[in-house]
């Protein structure tokens, strides 16, 4: 069977506000295979987190997934009744949040929380569940896991708490993990440790990973493919090396060009002018148009989606190879 593990088709999520319905993400499509890592990159308000929450079925009113398909192993998650979705969530599909405090209950010991998670989906004895929990802690690199099981979340450091959150996500060996900025709040040396863990996971267990972040450098070392989001749409999507080496969408191009490591030391950084537009008042046509140096009259219409050599692009005037950064 060659069908991808996850296929997203034209996903759209809207929020009802006082000013009417606001489309937060639209026309989001991508696929993910077993063991593959997809980097979902964008700035604040680009819709990257909403995409993750939409797949998990965690969009609550006033928000609503209002269009498209989320095919997980061929089944559309949007049409699943809530009890079936609940059986999948935390079991076959897991999520890791930026703030592990969102996953962990501060007044329960780690073992209580982990055993509860296992028993929610499987009928096993408490002893078996406890052993599984201990092994999961060991797998994410927590020293002396047997003793640490009896600790409370506040007894762990930030990096350790995030490891516990990852261990909980791993308990059922999910097929898919959606990680929303899981290392953003961590120190560099701790981030590297966490990245090593998830990398091994994808490689050894075939777990598919969606890694949501604003940090392109993290994606460069971790992901196989990258999707760059701007104002709720994927503007460029392709193989991670190709996109980073030769970005073709003016936004990706500008973003990479503005990184300090891409500019001579002490010189002015190349910058994208202006700020991200409010999602409720997007410019007509291409949302990046007011900030784009290449924009023309044509950009007042919605830009076409082109697909060349495995790269998806949403732009009238893509940067050509010759002028690459």
């Amino acid at each position: 069977m060659t069908a991808p593990m996850l296929e997203i088709r034209n996903l759209r999520t809207e929020f009802a506000t006082d000013a009417g319905r606001v489309t937060v993400i639209d026309e989001v499509s991508f696929t993910l295979n077993r063991g593959q890592v997809l980097g979902l990159v964008g700035e604040s308000g680009s819709g990257k987190s909403v995409t993750g929450f939409s797949i998990m079925g965690l969009i609550d009113p006033p928000g609503q997934v209002s269009g498209g398909q989320i095919l997980f192993k061929g089944e559309d998650l949007r049409t699943l009744p809530e009890p079936r979705m609940r059986a999948l969530r935390g079991n076959r599909i897991a999520m890791i949040f930026q703030d592990p405090a969102m996953t962990l209950n501060p007044v329960l010991r780690i073992d209580t929380q982990m055993i509860e998670t296992i028993l929610a989906h499987e009928k096993v004895s408490k002893t078996v569940a406890r052993d599984r929990a201990r092994d999961a802690l060991g797998m994410v690199g927590i020293p002396s896991p047997e003793e640490r099981l009896r600790a409370y979340p506040h007894q762990f450091s930030g990096g350790m708490r995030q490891r516990v959150a990852i261990a909980i996500a791993l308990l059922h060996r999910p097929d898919l993990i959606i990680a929303d900025e899981p290392t953003t709040a961590l120190d560099v040396t701790i981030q590297a440790q966490i990245l090593a863990v998830v990398q091994r996971l994808a490689r050894d267990h075939g777990t598919g990973l969606i890694w949501i972040t604003h940090d392109l450098s993290v994606i460069a070392g971790l992901a196989d493919r990258v999707a760059v989001m701007y104002a709720g749409r994927i503007v460029e999507h392709g193989d991670v090396d190709t996109v980073i080496r030769t970005p073709r969408h003016p936004y990706t191009h500008g973003l990479i060009g503005s990184l300090p490591s891409r500019n001579p030391r002490g010189q002015h950084l190349k910058q994208i002018t202006g700020t991200t537009p409010a999602i409720a008042a997007l410019p007509q046509g291409c949302a990046f148009r007011p900030r784009c140096a290449r924009a023309t009259e044509a950009c007042l219409a919605a830009p076409p989606v082109t697909q060349t050599e495995g790269r998806l692009l949403r732009c009238f005037h893509p940067v050509t190879e010759g002028e690459a950064a």
Partner: protein, 329 residues
């Protein structure tokens, strides 16, 4: 030439206040040791006039405490700081007040460092008016000038902070600092909470201001690539101590301290496709109970028995290059 800032043997210890029982016990001659955090442990550093010194390190390394002490927000527990050759205590009151005003701080989170109930013109103008940098009659023009310099449209001066985006709010913080005409800025993670495309804009602003106003900077950040870009000299800290210090090109080309090397290796790079992370082991220890000898020894791949016993001196190992490691011997 007299350095702009000269920090010698500065330490900062934080401890909690004694509780009643403890005070009584102390009075009775029974002394229980209280937990003390050594946020800064014998730090010496100079910042030249017009220089940009980057301070890098992970959580708990003392970089923010150092910035706050230099800005005069915190007092040092030991050691002294000379501002253009003099300590604040040596100066007459007026001069000391001016010396404090000359060093301004830009904070990480503009939404918590701006009063949400004040309009931008009040935020930017209040201190300038109080310190006589402008008159009440000239205030509006003065505020407009500060806003323009920080890249804000003066027409927005009657708005509240929440009506601005994150990058613009950071610009308000910059305009406020510039309004009292400092010659030195201490930037504590000032671009850390901004989006990448906005971060570049603010870094460019800092570089323009340096050129136009001949500012001196202490640039505190955990982000090595930002520090590399903007600094002349870089200081690396770990658990309250300076472990290495060198001109920027030298530090990134020839890092000497094992911690600096580890740090440089761990930063994800855009261009080197690294499929395998080989992270340094272990957690950052608690500053309440730092390891003996060299603070880095439990995590150091090159540690020797001596490292657990003896604190390595910060010593000269090349022109303007200092490192604190026993391997330098």
């Amino acid at each position: 030439m007299t350095p702009r800032i000269e920090i010698t043997h500065v330490s900062k210890r934080f401890s909690r206040k004694s509780e009643l029982v403890e005070r009584l016990a102390e009075r009775a001659g029974l002394k229980a040791p209280k937990p003390v955090v050594h946020a800064l442990d014998d730090v010496s550093l100079t910042v030249g006039s017009g220089e940009v010194v980057g301070i890098v390190g992970e959580s708990g390394c003392g970089k923010s405490t150092l910035g706050r002490i230099v800005a005069g927000i915190l007092d040092a527990s030991a050691g002294e700081i000379r501002y253009k050759g003099q300590t604040l205590a040596e100066m007459p009151d007026r001069q000391a007040a001016q010396a404090r005003l000359d060093v301004q701080m830009i904070f990480q989170d503009p939404s918590s460092s701006l009063n949400p109930r004040h309009r931008v013109d009040e935020i930017v103008g209040a201190a300038a008016l109080r310190h006589g940098k402008t008159t009440r009659a000239g205030l509006a023009d003065y505020v407009a000038e500060q806003m323009r310099r920080a890249g804000l449209d003066p027409a927005m001066s009657r708005r509240f902070p929440h009506q601005f985006s994150g990058g613009q709010r950071q610009r308000i913080g910059i305009a406020r600092a510039l309004a009292v005409q400092p010659d030195m800025l201490i930037c504590d993670e000032s671009v850390a909470s901004l989006d990448v495309s906005i971060q570049a804009q603010i870094l460019n602003l800092f570089m323009d201001l340096r050129r136009d106003l001949n500012l001196t900077y202490m640039f505190i950040s955990h982000d090595l690539s930002v520090v590399e870009h903007i600094s002349d000299r870089v200081v690396v800290m770990y658990l309250g101590r300076i472990v290495e210090e060198a001109p920027v090109a030298e530090l990134f080309a020839h890092p000497a301290h094992p911690y600096t090397r580890a740090l440089l290796q761990e930063i994800p790079q855009l261009d080197t496709k690294r499929r395998h992370y080989a992270p340094i082991k272990g957690e950052i220890p608690s500053p309440l109970a730092p390891p003996s000898g060299c603070h880095f020894h439990p995590r150091c791949p090159l540690a020797m028995p001596r490292c657990a016993l003896e604190r390595p001196e910060l010593r000269q190992i090349g022109p303007a290059h200092r490192s604190a490691c026993h391997l330098n011997d």
